[in-house]
């Protein structure tokens, strides 16, 4: 389930990256690199964060 959360989160942030490209922004090489790394890092961060919050709320159940 942890892996699936990461898959969904990575899909979400990569999807936002593609929406930005659809709008015509961020096509420079540096911007492409930054957004790709950003999506990877954001996906991992969001996944870890969500699970920390889940364990805090669930009280380790």
């Amino acid at each position: 389930v942890f892996g699936y959360t990461w898959a969904l989160m990575h899909h979400l942030f990569s999807g936002i990256r593609h929406l930005v490209w659809d709008l015509g922004y961020g096509f420079k090489a540096s911007e492409r690199e930054a957004m790709t790394w950003g999506a990877l890092v954001a996906g991992i961060s969001a996944t870890v964060l969500l699970w920390i919050v889940a364990y805090m709320i669930g009280g380790g159940q």
């Binding site: 979400l12 999807g15 936002i16 929406l19 659809d22 969500l50 919050v53 889940a54 709320i57 669930g58 009280g59 159940q61």
Partner: protein, 133 residues
């Protein structure tokens, strides 16, 4: 018309492209995929909040919460957007990678059945909890 036409056509340029394209539906799916994507971006936070609120609650509590109007509507919207997005996304993969025409049509049909079944089962569950039966 700049180029000399050897065969006179009465069809307008729009009429020639209408109903064409590999999918026979033009850019409809492309646009739907964007609509459902943006919808899910907006719905992500409320859906995560709902899932977090379910943590630690028992069956009765969870059923009551999922059946409350606001939660049910948010989840229904998310179910519709996500299963639609899922159906289009998988169909694009099939269209790109299934090279045998009959196999491709069979896979697209199976994909439609699967996504529709998932959507209907999920919607049915939410409505059942909402109606309290």
């Amino acid at each position: 018309m700049s180029a000399p036409e050897t065969v006179k056509s009465m069809r307008t340029p729009l009429g020639r492209v209408r109903n064409l394209g590999a999918s026979h539906s033009g850019t409809t799916d492309f646009w739907r995929q964007r609509i459902t994507a943006v919808a899910m971006i907006l719905l992500t936070v409320p859906v995560i909040v709902v899932v977090m609120m379910l943590l630690g609650s028992n069956h009765a509590g969870a059923a009551q919460m999922l059946g409350s109007p606001l939660v049910a509507i948010v989840l229904l919207l998310f179910i519709i957007a996500s299963t639609w997005h899922m159906k289009i996304g998988m169909q694009v993969v099939i269209e790109d990678y299934a090279h045998h025409e009959a196999l491709k049509l069979a896979l697209i049909m199976a994909n439609n059945f699967f996504c529709f079944a998932v959507a209907l089962a999920s919607i049915y569950a939410i409505l059942k909890l909402s109606s309290g039966v």
